[in-house]
Symmetry: C2
Subunit: 152 residues, 2 copies
């Protein structure tokens, strides 16, 4: 993927994270891009608004992109998210057959990719995306930090 | 929970699994029971029908029960499912704060509780339910076996 395209999608994911913060949600945003790099779906976290513990940004964009394509697999699609996915989202990314996963900040407390369950590194994981961590990391970390500072 | 109540909920989950098989879905069924043991929600797997890789039985019952209670947490609620949850569903069960998890057959290939990511055993897991594996196991295994035999 061309670097300016990656940057554009991560910028959009960061905007979704900021919008989530403004709704009082934990600020995480995500984008699914199609095989030719065009934006398919964008979403921010909506667990509080929807009273739905599964409504993480990644789950919402995967569900939206799948509905759009009429398929439970997003072959050759890429996912951009501002924070390291949790184990729920990492498993959904695997089920959807996401090709490349770009993410911003690591999540030592609740992440499921680099820590804890390391979902993609298990023999029970039947598809792992290519990983591109640390994309837009300073911006993603700043949005999260401002949000949690404001809640204290 | 009284044994006959546990049996009744697992029987309902098995019926949901059977109904899923008849729709051509991988036959897994689930039930959420409220704090006093009454049935709150029941669902079977619908990933194919909904073109949604996240539409596992456990996710659908959690989302339905949360919508019913207007809360992203199912405090003192119990979940019954015919198969060991995958890591996606195990993490969602943790986020929803499910009190007790009753399940049937183990899933060596894709499970996330006893194998692979062992989601509830990680320091990144902030709530683990009490586990009751092997409930209704022969029936759950028979439904799965018949389904996969029929597809060959």
């Amino acid at each position: 993927m061309a670097p300016e395209r990656v940057e554009g999608h991560m910028l959009r994911a960061l905007q979704e994270a900021q919008a989530a913060a403004e709704r009082g949600e934990v600020p995480v945003g995500a984008v699914v891009a199609g095989p030719d790099g065009q934006l398919l779906a964008a979403a921010g976290n909506r667990t509080r608004e929807l009273s739905d513990p599964t409504a993480h940004a990644e789950m919402l964009v995967i569900r939206r992109a799948c509905a759009l394509l009429g398929s439970e697999r997003l072959i050759n699609c890429d996912l951009y998210v501002t924070l390291e996915p949790c184990p729920m989202c990492a498993a959904a990314i695997s089920f959807a057959r996401i090709r490349r996963l770009y993410y911003g900040a690591s999540d030592p407390k609740s992440g499921g990719v680099e820590q804890g369950p390391r979902v993609f590194n298990q023999p029970t994981c039947h598809h792992a995306p290519e990983l591109y961590p640390g994309i837009g990391e300073p911006e993603a970390a700043a949005i999260l930090k401002a949000f949690f500072a404001g809640r204290r």
